[in-house]
Symmetry: C2
Subunit: 302 residues, 2 copies
């Protein structure tokens, strides 16, 4: 089995109450692959500029990630800078330089179209749709998005949403997209466009799934410190799809377990800046945190 | 078994995106009793002015609430007015007229001091401490508080916290009290003052318990609409303590079940303005929602 991810590889500069880092390895495809590759074979599609030091992705190729889909274009790599304020629970984007990412056009190397599971990170919904049409045999497709596309490419986003199996959004984005206060009505609005399942990411509160299999809610792992929330959503997706690809079954219970795997993996991401914590992460670490999540949510029936 | 509540009976005026009501029945002791009385015998201590129409509490006395502890003082009843904005997730207090509540001094009628469980709603922590010293035989005592006391009577609040078994606070209040971003560190700071358990109320995200019995997190029930969040915390406490008093045991598992009962009861409160939904509420309704919460949080071990 294998998993396709289409997203970004980037240089991130991040400031949080716990520190500041400059030009570290980031990007949705990076975070996703770092985790998903613990479970299964990952096929990566992204773009970097000629300034990108390829050795930075060595830890991914060491985990078997196929990087034939990583394009190298003339120009500079995508750069993103942001500041998190935990007091106000906000993320302020300080700088976005798309650079080569502005002209990104995903191309699937031979064999990638056979991927069983597909994750389309928060890229232009027109590109997401383009990729979706190339993987008609995929067992499960999933897309993420962001405020920018909700505001500027709403129609294209609705089309892409109507084509995938699973939609994941931050809670605020889902409410914005649906134009409603409530999270449940927002999820239902999205479901009405066609996907089988919507997963609403609620940051420090975990996530909620609405769709076939009913409603499922799981809290985030209780953590002493959150050093850097960057990449939590992408690693959630990596744990979720990675687990499903590994176990090979999609029952309501295995989907719930996959969501908990997503929460568990995301909880490691935020403990350190960038992908630092993920470099040494193992499936045993994730299994242990899965048990902790079970322990801190379990209560008796009736 | 019986349960003592010391808090307010008030006139509330509330505006939410779903409507507006004026001078309806409110107050922490009212909300708490409305729910706790479904489970057990409730002894109420509060104060109203001579303007208060006693028939408004008829539905509580019909449920067996002992109102001998309700003082009637010369003057007007406590009035509170607020506006909720669901877009910004804020509650703006528009008006607070303490009136007779400013001179409230809780007096326990004969027999009340034998109550097994005690809830001290968010009144002056000096009064909370005064009551606590009169119920040394209680099996479990619990207090709530609010920003005003955290800012203005911090020492007295710390003393009261050091004397009760269970502390409940809104998440923002707990962070403010502890001076930390994280919810888990905030709860631990409060635990260090002496209580056995801290329950952090997270509004639409449910609640988290930290203490003996480890960490436990339960989401709020998924609701289509939240018409009026007023009283959610007090009815949470009513369901929590009411259940414990009814079952008479305090094991880690029964405490978890009690917390879920609290979440289930609170979910009914917010479906209508004021205590409207609680008038017809039954233990069967609560049991059904308990099952729903179990269903939407359950996942398999391992």
């Amino acid at each position: 089995m294998s998993l396709l991810v289409v997203g970004s590889v980037a240089f991130d500069s991040v400031e949080t109450p716990f520190g500041k880092v400059n030009d570290i390895l980031g990007g949705s495809a990076t975070y996703f692959s770092a985790v998903a590759s613990l479970y299964t074979k990952v096929n990566l599609v992204a773009v970097v500029g000629t300034d990108f030091p390829m050795e930075r992705l060595q830890f991914l190729t060491d985990r078997g990630v196929d990087t034939r889909g990583l394009q190298v274009m003339d120009g500079e790599t995508f750069c993103w800078a942001a500041r998190y304020n935990y007091e106000t629970n906000t993320c302020e984007t300080l700088d976005t330089r798309l650079n080569v990412f502005a002209d990104f056009h995903p191309v699937l190397p031979e064999g990638y179209e056979q991927s069983d599971f597909v994750f389309l990170a928060n890229i232009d919904p027109e590109l997401q749709y383009e990729v979706l049409r190339q993987v008609p045999q995929a067992r499960l497709t999933m897309l993420d998005t962001m405020d920018f596309w909700i505001h500027n490419k709403r129609e294209a986003l609705a089309t892409a949403i109507g084509t995938v199996d699973v939609v994941t959004m931050n809670e605020g984005e889902a409410r914005t997209f649906a134009g409603t206060y409530g999270t449940l009505p927002a999820a239902k609005t999205i479901l009405n466009l066609g996907p089988k399942m919507v997963i609403i990411k609620q940051g420090e509160y975990g996530c909620a799934m609405v769709g076939e299999g009913g409603y499922f809610s799981v809290p985030a792992c209780p953590l002493e410190d959150v050093k850097d929330p960057t990449g939590a959503g992408d690693t959630f997706a990596g744990g979720f799809l990675g687990y499903l690809d590994k176990v090979g079954e999609m029952t309501p219970q295995s989907i719930r377990r996959a969501i908990v795997h997503g929460c568990a993996t995301a909880s490691f991401t935020v403990e350190e800046f960038g992908v630092d914590r993920l470099r040494s992460l193992t499936l045993e670490d994730i299994a242990k945190r899965y048990q902790e999540l079970h322990q801190c949510t379990h209560f008796e029936d009736g």
